[in-house]
Structures are given as structure tokens and as C-alpha cells.
Symmetry: C2
């Protein structure tokens, strides 16, 4: 079993930063930690990596446990390895972040974990170095979303341009000119206009769009300039 006999084995955890958009605000899914140390404090959803389980598998297992769903956009963010980060025992945490449409998962959160959505502006005190993780994830989200069409993962399948712009404005904490915004977004060819309108948020109604999946996948890695000067908004 232990073939590299002289080496020290270390606890490895996975923590998930789960971003959700409710159509208005960008939020984070947090849980009340169920065991010591720091039992009862707010925390990212995490767990230890099990034998025979890859990092991705661990992250997906944890996400499934919390939200009840898989097939959510998720990517590895960073490995946090400060030896003091967990005061009880040295633990390395490999952090993932996920993006999802909050409304889709609202009613199926596992009660077991006392999970709750918090607006990014009102994050409670978190355990350990979880604030550092969240900050890095926010920076990464902004960075990546300024270049790649990643924010669609936070929206429902059908969405309107005002909703999309609202999401961008929420992420970058600024506002954009709607004429320039729609020109830039539509020029990517990623969106298909539907005939149906959303009549909930205005009298006139706003046309729904959906992603042109084929185009989306093909162009996902292309570098687009969604945000003029992303660093102005950090």
C-alpha cells in the first residue's frame, strides 16, 4: 500500500465555490459546517478526496450532494496548500468553482447541509482561508468572462438581452451602454433570437435568445473582448 515508504501523506480536500444568478444578483451557495473544528460556521461545500477518486470526481460528488444535480459547469481553480490553513490537521484543498442558474436548483438543495444563497456583497464570515478562495474565484470569473462566453452558464436556457446585460453589469459592478452591448454580443454569432418574448419585466416585452450550441462550443476558446478594459472594474 505505502510504496514510497518515507514520504508523508497529507489530507486532500476539495472545496466548491458555487456561483448562482437569480436574474438579479450574483450569489454564492454556502453551508453551515457540520463538524469540528468551526462547527456551525459558514463554509464552502467541501469534502475529503476519497481513495480511487480523481479531483474532478470528488468535486462532482460534492456538488451533487449539495445541489442534487450534475452536469453543471465546473472547473478547477487552484490548490491551496498553506500548512496552517486548517488548524486541526494539515490539509491541502483543491478548489473548484461552478456556475449555475440559481432558479433551477432553488428547491432541490439538500436540507441536510443548511445551505443558503448569499449575495456576493453580503458574504458572512467564512472558516479557514475560504475568503481567499472566494476572492480568487471572483477574480477568475471576471477575468475569464471578459474574454470568453462563460456567463451564459449562469442563465436559463432562454434569456433576454436585458437579462444578459444585467448579469454582466452585476459581475463587473458597472453599467454598459445597451446599444454597444447588444452590438458586441450579437456580433459573436453565439445567440439565436427566438420569436417568443419575455413579458414579465416590461410592457413591451423582450425577445428571448438562446445559445447557438454548435457555435458556442466552437468559439468558446476564442478570445473575444466582451469587456473593454476588464481591469478597470477590479
Amino acid at each position: 500500500m505505502h510504496k514510497y515508504s518515507k514520504q508523508t501523506r497529507i489530507l486532500v480536500a476539495v472545496d466548491c465555490i458555487i456561483f448562482g444568478f437569480d436574474g438579479n444578483e450574483l450569489k454564492l451557495l454556502l453551508i453551515k459546517r457540520g463538524f469540528e473544528p468551526q462547527k456551525g460556521h459558514w463554509s464552502l461545500m467541501g469534502g475529503f478526496v476519497e481513495p480511487g477518486e480523481s479531483m474532478d470526481a470528488a468535486a462532482n460528488r460534492i456538488l451533487l450532494k449539495l445541489t442534487g444535480l450534475d452536469k453543471v459547469y465546473m472547473e478547477q481553480l487552484y490548490a491551496f496548500g498553506n500548512p496552517e490553513r486548517d488548524p486541526l490537521e494539515r490539509t491541502i484543498s483543491v478548489v473548484y468553482f461552478a456556475l449555475l442558474d440559481l432558479n433551477k436548483y432553488k428547491d432541490q438543495l439538500s436540507d441536510q447541509f443548511q445551505a443558503a444563497w448569499f449575495p456576493l456583497k453580503k458574504i458572512p464570515k467564512l472558516i479557514f482561508d475560504h475568503h481567499d478562495m472566494v476572492n480568487m474565484a471572483r477574480a477568475k470569473l471576471r477575468y475569464k468572462a471578459s474574454l470568453h462566453p462563460i456567463l451564459f452558464e449562469l442563465l436559463p436556457e432562454k434569456f433576454t438581452l436585458p437579462q444578459l446585460q444585467n448579469l454582466f453589469e452585476e459581475v463587473y459592478n458597472t453599467s454598459f451602454d445597451k446599444r454597444n452591448f447588444s452590438r458586441k454580443i450579437l456580433s459573436t454569432g453565439l445567440l439565436l433570437k427566438l420569436t417568443e418574448k419575455d413579458k414579465d419585466s416590461s410592457r413591451k416585452g423582450a425577445f428571448y435568445y438562446k445559445l447557438d450550441k454548435k457555435h458556442y462550443k466552437a468559439n468558446f476558446h476564442n478570445i473575444l473582448r466582451f469587456i473593454p478594459n476588464p481591469n478597470d472594474f477590479i
Copy 2:
């Protein structure tokens, strides 16, 4: 010591992908593995994370052992955690990549590890999943260098515009128009023109430049478009 008593502890390694530029080619520093399994095969420089040591500290220790130097540009790339990746025992590897001026370190490589530089086009067979690591690092280098002035880390303190262009062309395996290239690079304000010329590579000689360190640090995170369509070159 083991407070989370029911959890499995795992071996954690750090592997370093060390890119070096010799003025002509982009190369990778590899070693002959000194222990089983796969003893004698080419490998990235790596080692196990020690108790009380952070990930960054482990990566720097490993780099120091191999090249004899610290203060080299290095960043974390990804945590590789496929449970089968090391056939002897499950090991998670947190991978870092470093950029350095190959000529600066040429003569001080530790003999102990039988280290050698390999052009990226002629990488030998590597152990485990080290090829995946290298491929991810190359993609990351291209991605990042298309947006940020990161390639200067591969050059000596004084360098000429033709040398810099040559490096970009090596990284992207293409060629650029030198008029447009120099316009774009100089427009960043990152470079200071020196009065001295490099007379080695031409009769006329090419002016040396150096980084304007202050400007470099202030603008490092800004997104610049060094490469028109980076994805065309992947």
C-alpha cells in the same frame, strides 16, 4: 496528529515544468528519474510535499535543487489527481511552471539529476502523465502570453526587438510582420530603449531594450492584445 481520523491521507507531489529560451529555441528542462518506478526515464523535476511546507515553497525548493537559483518566475498550473497516474501509489501532483533565461542557468544545473534541455519539438517519452502536464503548460503559456507581457521572463535583462519577436514566433510557431510587431510592443510603454547595440547577429546591429520595471508591474495584469487571434496558432 491525525485528527480527522476516518479520512485517507494521500501522497502529494509537486512537479515543475521549466521553460527556457536560448535566444533561438524554446526548451524544457527534464531530468532522468533517480528512483523506481520508471527509474532512468525522462521526467519533470518533482518531489513530494513535505510536512509544514506550502505548495509554493515545495515548488521553489524543487526548482532551487535543480537549477541552483530562486527568484524565477513561477506559477501554479493545475492539480493532477487521476488515481492511476502513479502506478506505484496514488499520488496527487500539483504542477507549477517556470520561465527563465536559459543561458543564465546553463552552467549551474545540478549534475546530480542528469538534467538536460530539450527543444519543445523534440521532447522524449516522459513518465506517467507528464506529457499531459507539459501540453497544458504550453497551452497556458500561449494563452497567457497573448494577453500579458509574460514572455520577457524568458529573455535576458537586455534584449533586442528581433530577439523578442523571434521568441514570440517560437512560442506561436508562426511569423509576424516586424513593423506591426514593434508598433504593438512599443505602444505598451513597457520597453526602454538603450543606447547600446547588439552587434552579434547583424552588421547594422540592433538596439537593446530593457523592461521599464515600474510600468511592467503596473501593467502586468492589464489585458493587451499581443497576438491578433491566439487561437489560430494552437
